[in-house]
């Protein structure tokens, strides 16, 4: 613990997250799940008076689909806060979203073993 002097630096986040949300209640997590992909709707202009966080989302999402978790990560904001901002943009029609891409289906163990055996016979 450093004692605060003129030189002691303060590193906590300068703008607290409850100010960014404006004290509004947070949307439920299932509205925009962590893996939901979002991107900017075409031919949109940023809402008037958009804050720096919204502008950052705008910039991030302009180039293609990003997951909600990634947006939060790039903004350095808690996911719930990013989700609120994304929900706002979504409701204003600025964002498109789609469900996370389905995961590759797991191949059954027998097939994997066959491949392994085949590879071993090729190499060995």
């Amino acid at each position: 613990m450093t004692s605060p002097g003129e030189e002691a630096s303060v590193t906590s986040d300068f703008v607290r997250s409850y100010v960014i949300t404006g004290g509004r209640s947070l949307p439920a997590a299932d509205d925009l799940a962590l893996h939901t992909l979002v991107t900017l709707a075409p031919e949109r202009t940023p809402p008037l008076g958009a804050g720096p966080e919204v502008m950052a989302i705008w910039q991030l999402c302009a180039g293609g689909y990003l997951s909600v978790a990634e947006v939060a990560g790039h903004l350095g904001l808690p996911v719930g806060v990013a989700r609120l901002l994304l929900t706002d943009l979504f409701e204003q029609g600025h964002l498109l979203r789609r469900a996370e891409p389905p995961r590759a289906q797991n191949v059954d163990r027998a097939t994997l073993e066959k491949v392994l055996n085949g590879l071993q016979s090729l190499i060995g």
């Binding site: 613990m1 004692s3 003129e6 607290r16 409850y18 008076g49 180039g63 293609g64 389905p102």
Partner: protein, 368 residues
């Protein structure tokens, strides 16, 4: 004859007595002055030692408050996806911020320091940071007409002063009434203007405020009342120390108090960040995020209107439809290794065919 002599004696005696009285008066005056000086010295000593003790105690509290806020920063991110926990943590964070502001205020009055932000911050963020340090932060709205940053060393002091002014504004106006912060450029720097819709201040309060805001030396903390009203004293102290000005004399357009912080050009950061409006055009200086390849948008983007028959009119596509985007300007400088390009193309191809096969694509808010 005898009478005359007696009278002479008496007059001489009287003169002597008057002289003595004069001397006594002078002596008393000297003693009183001495007493006053001693009293002032004792008071100053007491004040100084009180301040020294408070300063050190507040320093500990400041450190703890800062430590707690850093902890909360991490917790907020850790539980960011758990809505209930996040909301509760935010309320804890809010009380912590108010606590920290109080500790900082008392510390400043006792000659302590605020702690220093290493990085410049935009005036908009300074205002929002200040907003977060008071109880009724949701009554405050911030409007910035300028996009300038304050230098690192001015960031905390201005935020603390603005927080004190906002605290006053929200405390001395009816609950629910708005408090506005407007940030405007002036020829000598910029102004944070705080307007409330309260009843305004009476002359006595105005005089007291003016006196405290123009302090030029240590403030008598025992003279701030009980409960102590630190606000203006903190503002005056910080303004004097860092070279900006605070005034609260005027009337707001809503009939309440207008408080103004005037920050000179010397405390503004030289290299202003890109204006908000242009932010979307400039490539981010940080590493560009790894995005999924954009999927060609079917529908909305190419619909440019409707025909008279009500069918959507589509715009001709500008170029070949491709799933793999041209690398944008920000990424040109760092060519990806061939294997990664191949992988990303394969991935894009897989996603493209997947998109064609699935029907769960949602477009826009209508399909929510």
């Amino acid at each position: 004859m005898a009478l005359r002599r007696t009278r002479k004696d008496l007059e001489a005696g009287l003169g002597e007595a008057r002289g003595d009285i004069g001397q006594l008066h002078a002596h008393i005056a000297a003693l009183t002055a001495q007493h006053q000086r001693d009293l002032a010295d004792v008071r100053a000593d007491a004040e100084a030692s009180t301040k020294a003790v408070l300063k050190s105690a507040m320093g500990t509290l400041q450190s703890l408050a800062e430590e707690q806020q850093v902890l909360l920063d991490n917790l907020l991110k850790k539980y960011g996806d758990t809505t209930d926990v996040l909301a509760d943590l935010m309320t804890v964070d809010h009380t912590g911020s108010q606590f920290s502001r109080r500790a900082k205020g008392i510390s400043v009055l006792c000659g302590g320091w605020l702690g220093r932000r290493e990085r410049a911050a935009t005036v908009y963020d300074v205002a929002r940071s200040a907003q977060g340090r008071i109880k009724d932060f949701d009554r405050v709205s911030v409007h910035s007409q300028v996009n300038v940053s304050l230098v690192g060393k001015a960031v905390e002091p201005v935020a603390v002063v603005l927080a004190e002014l906002l605290d006053n504004a929200t405390n001395y106006s009816a609950p629910g009434t708005p408090v506005e912060v407007n940030i405007q450029a002036v020829p000598t720097g910029l102004c944070f203007i705080v307007d409330d819709a309260g009843l305004g201040m009476d002359q006595e309060t105005k005089d007291r405020a003016a006196a405290l805001l123009s302090v030029d030396g240590p403030v008598d903390i025992t003279g701030l009342g009980d409960p102590p009203r630190f606000g203006f004293a903190v503002c005056g102290m910080l303004a004097a120390r860092y070279g900006f000005a605070v005034s609260v004399g005027s009337v707001s357009p809503y009939g309440g108090v207008r408080a103004v912080i005037r920050v000179p050009e010397s405390l503004l950061a030289a290299d202003a960040p890109a204006p908000v409006a242009d932010a979307q055009d400039t490539a981010s200086p940080e590493a560009p995020p790894q995005r999924l390849a954009p999927v060609p948008v079917v529908g909305p983007s190419h619909v440019v209107g409707t025909t008279s028959g009500g069918l959507p009119k589509r715009r001709r596509r500008g170029g070949p439809v491709t799933v793999v985007p041209a690398l944008d300007a920000g990424q040109e400088g760092t060519p990806e290794p061939v294997s990664e390009v191949t992988a990303s193309r394969l991935g894009a191809f897989a996603r493209g065919t997947q998109l064609g096969r699935t029907t769960n694509t949602t477009e826009g808010p209508d399909n929510k």
